[in-house]
Symmetry: C2
Subunit: 117 residues, 2 copies
Amino acid sequence: MLAGEGCPFNILAMKDALEALEGRWKLLIMLSLSMGNKRFKQISKEVYGITDKMLSKELKALEMNKLIKREVFDTFPPTVEYSITPHGKSLDKLLHELYNWGQEHRNIIMEKDKIAS
Amino acid sequence: MLAGEGCPFNILAMKDALEALEGRWKLLIMLSLSMGNKRFKQISKEVYGITDKMLSKELKALEMNKLIKREVFDTFPPTVEYSITPHGKSLDKLLHELYNWGQEHRNIIMEKDKIAS
DNA sequence: TGCGTTACTATCTTTCCGGATAGTGCTATC
DNA sequence: GATAGCACTATCCGGAAAGATAGTAACGCA
């Protein structure tokens, strides 16, 4: 794409993908859920530093994007369980690429910094 | 990663990758430059809606991340040319994955919406 | 002289986002 | 009765980000 290959280019799809994961909390929440279905409070505890308000907001966004499922149980007090959807799991390949590029990126940035110092 | 594969997990690298591209303008700027080296004003014209201030800020961030190169020419008025670095071009694979997932994501979101309506 | 050029930058204002905190309602338990 | 639990939500506030606009310096040109 950037290398001039003349690929059919749809930037909106890329933006959607980035937006699905951007911000401080989404990846951390997904990571927490990747280790098993969880209730609100469990996630809150595992994702250090997040407020209930932010957690609620981020969970909503993830649910809207069908990356996670929210299941309400008829208990008292009412409990809600969150889990990753198959669509959420389809992020794996992308996350691998993010990881790979991010590692390389860190190397590039660190290497140059090392040489400079 | 999310599918429970027990991959060695470095969320920071992924965050770096996301942050390198996030926001309203970075992808658009990279797209503009992918079609050829450009001067400030050219990018400004091609990336519809961006203010000089935001363009300057975003170009700085992209340069800090070594995704683009800024070259100053000894002309009058002084001219500056921006181009994508090899490291910037290394984003290609990741962008492909973003595109692929984003397309699938759109399908999933649109399909469900269609069924609902 | 006046205006344009170039790639920014400064400043004031507006908008947006998140922190901090309090609150919700009904059951369960002490 | 008092308190806790649950998953949120409301509200006030301050900080961050971006919009809107003006400005910069020195050359080139009419």
